[in-house]
Amino acid sequence: MKLSVMDPAATSLGSIEMKSATPGSSGDDCMVRFDGVSKFFETRERGGLGHPVRTVALDRVDAVIGAGEFISLLGPSGCGKTTLLRMAAGLMQPDEGSIKIQNKVVVAPRRDACLVFQNFGLLPWRSALGNVEFPLELDGIGEALRRDRARELLDLVGLQRFTDHYPHELSGGMQQRVAIARALIRKPVLILMDEPFGALDAQTREQLQEDFLRIWARTGTTVLFVTHSIDEALLLSDRIFIFSTNPGRVKAIMTSPLAGLRLDSDMRVDRRFGDCRAELRRLLAGTQT
């Protein structure tokens, strides 16, 4: 298990490297680069002398994500992981620092970086097909072409029989499959997922994790995946960014030793799974304030 810790307070472990773990930190395979990214929020809090102050939601995040990597952002609620994702999606701007995707600073949402929402974010008056083709419709692609593409993707997520169903006629898991198909339709280089399986029951969740991994392996896109579940982060990721709260920071990055197992076997039975899990629990426990 390779673990790099950014927070000096966590240096009690043997296997720690005190440098930022950034495989492929330069060159073509760099997909996302966070450079000292901070975000502040207005509150009613007042500092010394009664001056208004801003709360630090996210403090100086530095990280580099390589092309094709599956990265989980793991932490308790309020640690700024969703804020970081939304900034990468271009829905918010950082107050300090910058985020670059493929060496271009993110100033607005990009067509090749697609977001999957926690509450699925489907348009309830559109059928599954209508929802999946929505991005291509915005791009002005002809109806026949985008319908074909949307059918292909619904096929990929296993919903070929449900193309004409409306979101309210689908289960939560199916709705999120539709949302994943929609995110894939523009062939994005980066998929941003905000606790996408958080609202699902345990069995559906496992099935979707498995299916999504397979899709990810086929498409080869980079994934930034927000979660608060240790198991989910381990089951899916190449690397896990562990966040701490108050202020929100990336406290440590774990390079999963189990990444090679995730596609064909059940990594839960591997002994290292328990070790990694215990390590992540320990790191997260230190984040509670």
């Binding site: 999606a89 271009g90 829905l91 607005a108 949402p109 990009r110 067509r111 697609c114 977001l115 929402f117 509450n119 974010g121 348009l123 309830p124 008056w125 929505f134 991005p135 419709e137 915005l138 409306y166 979101p167 309210h168 006629e169």
Partner: protein
């Protein structure tokens, strides 16, 4: 020794579907007879029968039974007066309804989209909404005359407000998370409006239109009472002045039928357009 006991289905047969249980004929007949629509029809039928009996006993000066009303309407049809009155009322009614919907949705969208426009217009909208519109009728007649456009103006001024208010609140009610879907997928402002905001607000807008249909009917009758020279409303005034009670009931009945037909039609359209919303709410 296994810790799992497998429980096989009886005879090794798995059932994915089973036949529907047949419903006995008596239950079917009962279901048809007790269906909402047959109860409605029965209720109306009983009402007419009671009316017929009561109407025949009453003084013809005050009340007329349905049979007399029917005869009166045939007479009026033969003289051509009825067709003319219907035409005189229906044309401004349709025009007024059309303008009410178009102007109402237009103003509603405008004030929902632009804060400054909202601040400029809302004192006037509130003031006009607060004044009983009937108080403005003499003024409108003065400006727009007694004929077609006068009626249209009275109707529209009466009926336009529910459409404005519902369109406005429907658009304002669209959740930020819904608009964010558009933003995240790089939609232009115009695309967000037409592909997200408007469809999401449509159920509200249709509810406003439904309320307006009723007010449009009130509006046209009020207009014709004041002008009292044409249309079904004019007919009502004319026949009530001469105590021709059976004839008086003819325009009233027609207005009732037209009103029910239009309201039902709009309700049907509303249900169709907002089906997703109803189903979504049922699902919770």
């Amino acid at each position: 020794m296994s810790i799992v006991d497998y429980i096989d289905p009886p005879n090794g047969e798995l059932r994915l579907v089973v036949p529907v249980k047949p419903i006995p004929t008596i239950t079917r007949i009962r279901r048809v007879l007790l269906s909402p629509n047959s109860i409605r029809c029965l209720s109306v039928l009983v009402f007419f029968i009671v009316w017929e009996f009561a109407g025949r006993r009453a003084n013809p000066l005050f009340m007329a039974p349905p049979s007399k009303i029917w005869i009166a309407s045939i007479d009026l049809w033969h003289t051509g007066l009825l067709q003319r009155a219907i035409g005189q009322s229906l044309a401004p009614f349709l025009m007024g309804l059309f303008l009410t919907i178009v102007i109402g949705i237009g103003i509603g969208i405008a004030i929902a989209q632009s804060r400054s426009l909202e601040y400029i217009l809302d004192p006037f909208i509130n003031a006009l909404c607060a004044i009983p519109r009937i108080a403005l009728v003499p003024l409108i007649i003065l400006w727009a005359g007694l004929e077609f456009w006068g009626k249209v103006a009275i109707m529209t001024s009466t009926a336009v407000f529910p459409v404005i208010i519902n369109t406005y609140s429907g658009i304002r009610d669209v959740r930020g998370s819904m608009l964010e879907i558009g933003r995240a997928y790089c939609a232009t402002e115009l695309q967000i409006f037409f592909k997200i905001t408007l469809p999401a607000a449509l159920p509200f807008i249709m509810a406003g239109v439904r309320l307006s249909v009723g007010l449009c009917i009130t509006g046209i009758v009020v207009a014709e009472f004041f002008t009292a020279i044409s249309g079904l409303g004019g007919m009502i005034v004319e026949y009530s002045n001469v105590f021709a009670t059976a004839k008086l009931f003819v325009p009233i009945t027609i207005i009732a039928f037209v009103g029910v037909a239009f309201t039902e039609g709009v309700q049907w359209l509303e249900r169709r357009l907002s089906r997703w919303r109803i189903l979504e709410r049922e699902r919770g």
